[in-house]
Amino acid sequence: MNPIDLLKRYGITDLTPGEETQLARELSEAYHMDEAAASSRDVQRIAEKVRARLQQVELDTSLGIVR
């Protein structure tokens, strides 16, 4: 079931033990994905590329270059 559906029902109707487990698992997976991304070298490498591109856009804009 969609996690947002489970969350919408939380505290209003009882979740089954299986649904409780699924919701906890999905929240935990999302949290750990986010934690891992913050220290991931791959993400840091992509971040450097994004930084370079945004600086280029800024430079182009200041020079009046439209892409």
Binding site: L7, M33, V43, K49, L54
Partner: protein, 254 residues
């Protein structure tokens, strides 16, 4: 240590009071209250604490709104996974099933995120559709750009009379949908962190996200087990309220 925690709690309480005061003063101001001069003076004060009323997804979707405060770095951390999955799917779609190199995917993700934050006239417009659909379209466009430069084997020709590859998107896969759900849930947890008291979030984080037992957390924090359960219930209720926001409702469903 306890004193430092108490001090932090006082600071958080003060921050919340400030936000509430600012909101109340704004209402007074718009209602042409007789104390308008006084309220203007207060509302023009520089904000000392970040506002907590808008959630992260609202800010991402706000476009040109002044509340556009989410940094591209944070956006990358939260959404790199679905963008990566979309980029792979688009590459396969346009190259008759070939697998992209990791360098290609990195470039596609970087270009998508840079474009998302740098675009002016083509910036995301929530009245035209979901953030999720916009990200798919944007990622596909950046993959097509890179393919045009690299020309891998068996690439379909990208000529005008073949139709526009930019509008030719692959069907959303299960892995893409799962990755997007994970990013949205992580965004929701981030919103929750900004919404509830720090201690309450810490208890929620340790029990629900890091899977420490409520009994262990209670003993470690020197509180009763019932207090831990109450805090978790409050945090989960706040999470449910956040999830009920229209932004999340729109984005979560297929």
């Amino acid at each position: 240590m306890l004193y430092m925690r108490w001090q932090w709690r006082q600071a958080v309480t003060l921050a919340n009071s400030y936000s509430l005061l600012a909101v109340s003063l704004k209402h007074l101001n718009t209602a042409a209250d007789p104390v308008i001069g006084l309220t203007s003076a207060f509302t023009n004060m520089p904000a000392q604490f970040p506002p907590t009323s808008l959630n992260l997804l609202s800010k991402l979707k706000a476009g040109d709104d002044p509340s556009w405060q989410v940094s591209w770095k944070r956006f990358l951390e939260l959404y790199h996974e679905p963008i990566e999955v979309i980029a792979r799917a688009c590459y396969r779609h346009h190259t008759s099933g070939h697998e992209p190199s990791s360098g290609f995917i990195e470039d596609a993700v970087a270009n998508t995120v840079a474009d998302f934050f740098a675009r002016g006239q083509h910036r995301y417009d929530k009245s035209k559709g979901r953030l999720r659909s916009y990200l798919r379209m944007l990622t596909n466009a950046r993959v097509v750009d890179l393919l045009r430069k690299e020309r891998p084997i068996d690439q379909k020709p990208f000529t005008d009379n073949e139709g526009s590859p930019v509008s030719d998107l692959p069907v959303e896969s299960r892995s893409e949908s799962d990755a997007f759900h994970r990013s949205l849930l992580a965004t929701l947890v981030e919103d929750l962190r900004n919404r509830i008291p720090l201690r309450q979030f810490e208890i929620f984080e340790r029990v629900k996200l890091k899977h420490q037992t409520p009994q262990f957390v209670a003993e470690d924090l020197g509180m009763q087990r019932a207090m831990v359960d109450r805090n978790i219930h409050k945090a989960m209720t706040a999470l449910r309220e956040l999830a009920a926001h229209i932004e999340y409702q729109e984005e979560f469903y297929e």
